[in-house]
Symmetry: C2
Subunit: 134 residues, 2 copies
């Protein structure tokens, strides 16, 4: 598969409002957009550093995957996303190489990108997203 | 503080030997160096994607911070590191803004860089490293 850079790092937080001032006032990054992703039951806030985005994730309901993650592991890094030239082809290649997939086909994620997740059981505990325009 | 990009993402693994084939054969990244960091009791393996490095971390003894991390949380993302123009000035600024530090002064890390860590209690659960040549 052809991956060009770390597209974003997803961080699960209790409250975007609280976390935002750390990323802005301490690290000096700027929040350039916020978005609700209804099917994931999250609110997101995006910051950019180099070519990589920091995506803060806040649950909008108790059965959100982010609420469950925080209940189990606490706030912290939730996933990393690699920019892929072709998300579906990359998912297929990963599966052929024995990787367990969460998504067999890409779906729409934040910022309108095609996204698909590899299962952390196959990726040394790292919840791994592939994303791109194709 | 002035941060330019994600310098690296540190991933705690049980065995670099086992994890390496996933990063090389599935994700298509190349391991360009391995290194022992004696004072951290770890072996490291580095891959590069865009301007960001993936740093695999394997404990070399049971009292290594990485062995303790895996015992508590399992394999997975251990920390993220931001490239800072001046590590000591950035640590000082963070402390003045109320962030708890692990390192009050920078020290030498992998690849000969100056590094310093912010405490995850102040950074929404994300163990955060600042690193750079200065």
């Amino acid at each position: 598969m052809n991956l060009s850079h770390i597209e974003h790092i997803g961080i699960a937080v209790n409250s975007i409002e609280e976390a935002k001032s750390y990323f802005e006032d301490v690290l000096g990054l700027k929040c350039y957009t916020t978005e609700k992703v209804t099917d994931q039951k999250v609110k997101t806030a995006f910051f950019k550093i180099g070519k990589t985005k920091i995506e803060l994730l806040e649950a909008t309901s108790e059965d959100s995957p982010i609420a469950k993650f925080i209940a189990k592991k606490g706030q912290g890094i939730h996933h990393i996303a690699f920019a892929a030239d072709d998300v579906n082809a990359s998912l297929k290649e990963a599966e052929e190489k024995g990787i367990k997939l969460i998504d067999k086909q890409s779906r729409k994620g934040a910022e309108g990108l095609n996204i698909g997740f590899l299962h952390p059981k196959s990726t040394f505990g790292v919840l791994t997203e592939l994303c791109g325009t194709k």
